[in-house]
Each structure stands twice: as structure tokens, then as C-alpha cells.
Symmetry: C2
Subunit: 100 residues, 2 copies
């Protein structure tokens, strides 16, 4: 059943991160700015997990100060339509919740 996928995308920040990466690469610090409530530690952990799960690719540049870029893998990109549908569903559902 969908449990496998659910485990991959179920983390609290996973979908949010993927969402921002859909539009292209982002550096660690850029992601941090986009996710104002996340702590550095959490962002690191989440990105590591995404990398392990091959949803995100991490590229380290040998510069000082360091530069690290994150981008979706091909598999991650394939989530795009699903994210789109989820967003649409979420908006509709949110309305339904609001109108009791």
C-alpha cells in the first residue's frame, strides 16, 4: 500500500522542502530563509534524510565560505504533479473545514 511513499514524504518539512526545490537549486541558507520556523538542526536532518532517500541531491563546492546546493533528483521531480494535486486538494479541504 502507500505506506512506503508515506514514509518518504511524511516528515514535517519534507514536502515543504521539495516544494521549494521544484523551482530549482537552493543553497542551505536560502532554504532556511524560506522556512522561517525551521531550526538549522532540523533543516540539516531533513535534508540528510531526503538525500538518503534519493529525493534530493547535495552538491558541495570547495569554496570558502562553504557553498552547498540542494536540488531535486529525477525521482523527486516526479513528485511534482502529486504535489500539485495535493495542494489543490488541500485548498478545497481547507475551505470545507472553514465552513464547518
Amino acid at each position: 500500500m502507500e505506506v512506503y511513499a508515506a514514509n518518504l514524504i511524511g516528515g514535517q518539512w519534507t514536502l515543504a522542502i521539495c516544494c521549494y526545490l521544484i523551482n530549482g537549486k537552493l543553497r542551505f541558507g536560502e532554504l532556511k530563509k524560506k522556512l522561517p520556523n525551521i531550526t538549522e538542526r532540523m533543516l540539516t536532518l531533513q535534508l540528510r534524510k531526503l538525500e538518503e532517500n534519493k529525493l534530493v541531491k547535495r552538491t558541495v563546492y570547495a569554496e570558502v565560505p562553504p557553498r552547498v546546493e540542494y536540488e531535486l533528483t529525477e525521482s523527486g521531480q516526479r513528485l511534482k504533479p502529486i504535489l500539485g494535486m495535493l495542494e489543490k486538494w488541500g485548498k478545497e479541504h481547507q475551505l470545507l473545514m472553514a465552513t464547518d
Copy 2:
């Protein structure tokens, strides 16, 4: 962003439960059998949350011993195509992970 939807379906058992309910109503005990690793307590909590979020409707019959049936709401049903896509994506991704 999709965070709203993610919070609704992100629970460890949420999608699994919805998945089983797609094929129709199920009693508490039936769900328990389908989810062998869930504890009664967890199943209760998850169903309560799903009910709160209006993904699942709970019907109690005034019988003894008690009978309680769970079914997807209309909003829950609308998740169906998304679950389908997620499952497909999950399978492909699982292959990719297996072949390193």
C-alpha cells in the same frame, strides 16, 4: 504551500487507513486486523484525528456489543487519485532505491 495537506495526511497510519477505507466502510476491529502492527490505542487516536480533520466519518450503532463503522468522507474520497499516484510513484522509487 502543500504543508497544510502534508499535516493532514502525514501521520504514520493516516494514508494506510484511508487506503483501506477506499473500498468501503470498515469496523474498528476490521481495521485493526488490516493493520497488524498498530495498537488499539494508536488506531483510536488516528481515527479520532481523521474524524476531526473530516477525512473519515464515524458511525456508532446502539448495539451490544458495540459496533462502530468508519468510512471516508467525500473529501477523503477525493484523495483517491492522489493515493493512486503516490502508490505508483512509490513503486518506481522503490525500484530506484533497490538498484542503487
